[in-house]
Amino acid sequence: MKPFLAMLTRDMKLATRIGGDSLTVLLFYIMTGAIMPFAIGPDKDQLAQLGPAIIWISALLSLLLALDRLFRMDHEDGSLLAMRQASLPLEMIVVAKICAHWVTTALPLIVATPVLAILLNLEIDQTLRVIFTLLVGTPALICFGAIGAAVTVSIKRGGLIAPILILPLSIPTLIFGVSAVSSGAIANAQDAALLFLAGFTLLSLVFTPFAAALALKMAAE
């Protein structure tokens, strides 16, 4: 447990210090959400209707922004190689890094969601529901992002290719996440979507550590 916590706290420290991504991701999230009305128009009813979708898209894009650095820095400065001699298997190191990444990028963004909700004219109960779906769904986004980051870690300019790989894979999360807030007519659809979202997140949490660790090992060859 101690090596795991060491990994977790170290990545959290790195993300919150100078050169870290936490604040950048948060600002990007708020700004992306806030520029949507300039394209859609300030009609309050329309904004309220599109609100959950806007928030989810903004969250997806801002999380993609930071993912490239999840493994790249450690790969390039030799830390990742040294981590492979740890008393912890690489899979667990990946889990620790994913957890730290979620806490330092996704969590601040979820906490800041009420700000966007006010700008987009969302009702209180809808806001709470969006926050809840983000809590359930963002781990899956981070997981797929981690796989994309691991796959592209050895490519010098891999920053652009990773989102191309990740975006199609995050479609189920987007569908279930937004449907769990605003799926309109069909009864029980929201609850079903929430359950699917939770299931998808659990599934991705199960296979991501293995897939990402495997990709990292292959990248070091």
């Binding site: 101690k2 090596p3 916590l5 060491a6 990994m7 170290r10 420290k13 790195l14 210090r17 100078i18 050169g19 870290g20 390039e76 400065d77 030799g78 830390s79 190689l81 040294a82 981590m83 492979r84 001699q85 740890a86 008393s87 912890l88 298997p89 090992k217 070091a220 060859e221």
Partner: protein, 218 residues
């Protein structure tokens, strides 16, 4: 009688006829040696002959295409990686963490010592232990990276050009580090041009890598 503090289990390493190829192209082949406790293996050869590749094959990051690497006396319950320290070309130092935080992290991750102060002192960085590593010079960064070797006890050290970015004094320091490790029963395998002081000549083995080694000698 040799002290065995660094290698209580008497771990030894046996390498037989090791080879590595990539994409059907052989990078090196026919590397064989045994490393007994207290021995230094120096890999030497021209640039691009595959020294780094050979080390990576030894610690299992690259797949070998031929031959065997066997560890003697290791606990079958534990992975071979838990007996190794590896320092590569790049030091693995995070510039936004302090000197102490850097080493504490590695100590905890490797299940090593609680007190990292001796390692900081050995690297000569005790005066700036609470400063961010970004203020360190290239040489000091290298020392900090190498100080990782001291925060957790692993019998086998694998070092790839450990003296790059170091001055003459730094070379001596690394030499002493290696000598001390071996004096206590540890094994060091290094790709370096450094001479290791204070060690009996029979404890130092040299392995030549690269098929053109003969041409270069003549």
């Amino acid at each position: 009688m040799r002290k065995n503090g660094k290698n209580p289990e008497n771990i030894a390493l046996n390498v037989m006829n090791l080879a590595c190829e990539r994409g059907g192209f052989e990078i090196f082949s026919g590397v064989s040696f045994t490393a007994q406790p207290g021995e230094v293996i120096l890999l030497r050869g021209p640039n691009g002959a595959g020294k780094s590749t050979c080390l990576a094959t030894l610690y299992g990051v690259l797949p070998k295409s031929f031959g065997t690497v066997s560890f003697e006396n290791i606990d079958p319950e534990r992975e071979p990686r838990e007996y190794l320290h590896i320092v590569g070309h790049v030091p693995g130092v995070k510039t936004t963490l302090t000197v102490k935080e850097n080493l504490t992290f590695w100590a905890q991750l490797y299940g090593g010592t609680e007190n990292v102060l001796p390692a900081i002192e050995a690297a000569g960085l005790e005066a700036i232990q609470d400063s961010e590593a970004s203020i360190l010079s290239a040489g000091q960064t290298r020392r900090l990276g190498l100080a990782r070797l001291l925060v957790a006890n692993r019998p086998i050290w694998i070092l790839d050009e450990p003296t790059s970015a170091l001055d003459k004094q730094g070379d001596q320091w690394v030499g002493q580090l290696i000598a001390d490790h071996c004096a206590e029963g540890g094994i060091v395998i290094a790709a370096t041009h450094l001479d290791i002081p204070h060690l009996a000549p029979e404890a130092v083995k040299t392995v030549m890598i690269g098929y053109s080694a003969v041409d270069h000698a003549s």
